[in-house]
């Protein structure tokens, strides 16, 4: 087990290195410079030189890369260009909190509601609740989340006046965005759970359980749910990553100082160190989540042995 985890971590490091390298060179080709072109153009040559030197941009590209990797290995991701003098790791971790809070809450809401709906829908296949779940599942992924977020903000935040709408002051500000984000998660979880449950409910061991005289509830809870949850666990990884990093629109609407807007801003502003930092974070996080999912797999399903790995 430990050996397996270490081996996987090794792979992750190698993959990460490739990702870092690719991103580094691609990023350097992003149009524009990290500086306001108009302002940069009116600097004296000495000053331009100085600025480039300060940000290590006057080296040749391979040299910059080597330096970056060296510093990275030392745990130094550099300082941001746009957030002047601020450490990239600080900038990112500062933004991570709100994103993580909202992302995790959204996933939890999505899981709770999605699982319940999915289970009910499969159990009462072709009933009202099933259709309701399916409609919800389809709408959940069909309505752009910024539309949902804007509506939530307007109606619940402003019209009811129960939750703050404008800016980030703490946990109570995370409720509405979490709900807005949870729609798609709920929809996906419900959908996957339903499909898999329907499948599992057709299995022989479910018939065996029914033949034992277990009530439907018990058959469902003890036998069907656990065996249906694997696909949900699989999609959970990408969902978590997406919700934590891809919620730009919702972040903007609820003025959340999150990682999504940081990323887009920095790409647009050519803030190379931050772009790299987020990429590393994102890729590492993604691969770790996948590893965690694999570990969770083996806990949920004793048949799966880790050493063989799973077909992904």
């Amino acid at each position: 087990m430990l050996k397996y985890v270490l081996k996987r971590l090794g792979y992750i490091l190698v993959t990460l290195w490739v990702i870092v390298t690719c991103t580094f060179f691609m990023m350097k080709n992003l149009p524009g410079t990290p500086f306001d072109a108009e302002r940069f153009s009116i600097m004296t040559p000495q000053q331009q030189e100085r600025v480039l030197e300060m940000y290590g941009l006057n080296d040749s590209l391979p040299m910059q890369y080597v330096k970056y990797i060296k510093n990275m290995l030392k745990g130094d991701l550099g300082t941001s260009f746009t957030y002047v003098n601020q450490d990239v790791s600080k900038v990112i971790t500062g933004r991570l909190g709100p994103s993580a809070l909202i992302g995790i809450q959204a996933v939890l809401i999505g899981l709770a509601i999605g699982l319940i709906l999915g289970i009910l829908a499969a159990w009462k296949h072709n009933s009202g609740i099933d259709y309701f779940t399916m409609i919800l599942a389809v709408l959940g992924v069909s309505v752009p989340n910024f539309v949902a977020a804007a509506l939530l903000q307007y109606y619940i935040g402003l019209k009811w006046g129960v939750l703050p709408v404008g800016f980030w002051t703490g946990w109570n500000c995370s409720v509405l965005p979490s709900i807005a984000l949870s729609f798609s998660a709920t929809a996906m979880v419900a959908r996957f759970m339903r499909t898999e449950m329907l499948d599992v409910l057709d299995q022989d061991y479910i018939i065996t359980a029914r033949a034992k005289g277990l009530s439907q509830m018990k058959v469902l809870m003890r036998h069907a749910v656990r065996n249906s949850i694997l696909p949900v666990v699989t999609i959970l990884g990408p969902i978590v990553v997406n919700l934590m990093t891809g919620s730009l629109a919702v972040e903007n609407i609820f003025s959340i100082p999150g990682i999504g807007s940081l990323f887009v801003d920095c790409i647009k502003a050519n803030d190379y160190p931050v772009i790299m930092g987020i990429t590393i974070f994102y890729a590492a996080f993604y691969m770790l989540i996948v590893l965690l999912v694999d570990l969770a797999y083996s806990l949920i399903d004793p048949r799966i042995r880790l050493a063989k790995g799973k077909e992904s």
Binding site: D204, Y205, R210, A211, K212, G213, L214, H223, R226, D301
Partner: protein, 332 residues
């Protein structure tokens, strides 16, 4: 010996997107106390569905449209789901064909046995249950039951898994045990062990057994009486000796002819040509008419009634009709 289970005119339909499958079409049979009834028949002839109908565990799209299932004087088809839950497992238990898939892969086998006890013997304490589960494991001949108790199904071999399934079924000393092809997926050596086991257990626990199988050898080995199904109908029932030595229905005869005798070599097997009927659109007459060597016009038009052809032995075949006998005699 009283009848513990009596099924009358059981009719089951299954809805599919293409139409309604008339999986079971008016089946009558009964089961005496402590006897073993073997149900044989072509694949798809409705054996499993009949038994699932008895247990009330039909697939969602299946429905008992007619008939009664009398169990100890009560009609199970009239039972509510809750009442049926009391019956299942404790009164009538069922074993399924494939030991690989009929155990929950994510639950320890011990727990799966205990689950049955928890459901039906509520007074048992946790420790009692565990003790009983281990006892059951050793009862079905699993060595080192304490260790097995904590294993998952995938850690057991096929034969062991089938034993676990049997242990589950026997946990509450059911009055009736329905075994749906319990040995089909197993090797002959293990099959023999399982059959021995079932026979021993029947003696010990005094249950009645219905065993579904394709294998006539198994029937000969374990059954007291035999019911033969074809095309959703029960075409012949009788004591095992009568069925093997004195088959009345043409299908039964054909079946017996088509198996090679292990002790006599050579010669061509006498196959039954053709394919069983599609139950989506079953023939109006005898379901076997299309493949029968002796088909008469009446066979294709009308379904025959049951005719007694011996003690405890009846069959639905026009050949047994007096008229047919006459005509045949005349022809000669």
């Amino acid at each position: 010996m009283g009848k513990i289970l009596e099924v009358k005119n059981l009719t089951i339909h299954i809805k599919t997107h293409k139409g309604v499958v008339q999986a079971v079409r008016g089946v009558d049979f009964y089961l005496n106390e402590q006897e073993t009834l073997a149900v044989v028949g072509e694949s798809g002839s409705g054996k499993s569905i009949t038994m699932k109908g008895v247990m009330g565990i039909l697939p969602k799209n299946g429905k008992v449209v007619d008939g009664t299932v009398m169990f100890q004087g009560n009609d199970l088809t009239k039972y509510t789901e809750r009442q049926m839950q009391q019956v299942r497992g404790s009164e009538i238990a069922m074993i399924f064909q494939d030991p690989m898939t009929s155990l929950n892969p994510t639950m320890k086998v011990g727990k799966q046995i205990e689950e049955m006890l928890k459901e039906h013997c509520k007074e048992m304490s946790k420790a009692d249950r565990k003790a009983r589960a281990i006892e059951l494991l050793s009862l079905v001949g699993i060595s080192n039951p304490e260790a097995r108790y904590d294993q998952y199904p995938h850690q057991l071999s096929g034969g062991m898994r089938q034993r676990v399934v049997i242990a589950i079924a026997l946990a509450c000393d059911p009055k009736v045990l329905i075994a749906d092809e319990p040995t089909t997926a197993l090797d002959v050596t293990i099959q023999a062990q399982i059959l021995d086991l079932m026979r021993d257990l029947q003696k010990k626990i005094k249950t009645s057994i219905i065993i579904i199988t394709h294998n006539l050898g198994v029937v000969a080995n374990i059954a007291d009486r035999v019911a033969v199904m074809y095309g959703g109908k029960l075409v012949e029932t009788g004591d095992v000796a009568d069925i093997f030595h004195n088959p009345c229905h043409e299908y039964t005869k054909g079946l017996l002819r088509s198996i090679p005798k292990a002790h006599e070599k050579g010669g061509e097997l006498q196959a039954i040509p053709g394919t069983p009927p599609d139950l989506m659109d079953p023939p109006v007459g005898c379901p076997f008419a299309a493949r029968c060597q002796e088909t008469m016009i009446v066979c294709q038009k009308f379904m025959p009634d049951y005719t007694e052809c011996g003690k405890n032995h009846k069959s639905a075949c026009w050949m047994l009709d007096e008229m047919a006998q006459e005509v045949k005699a005349d022809e000669k």
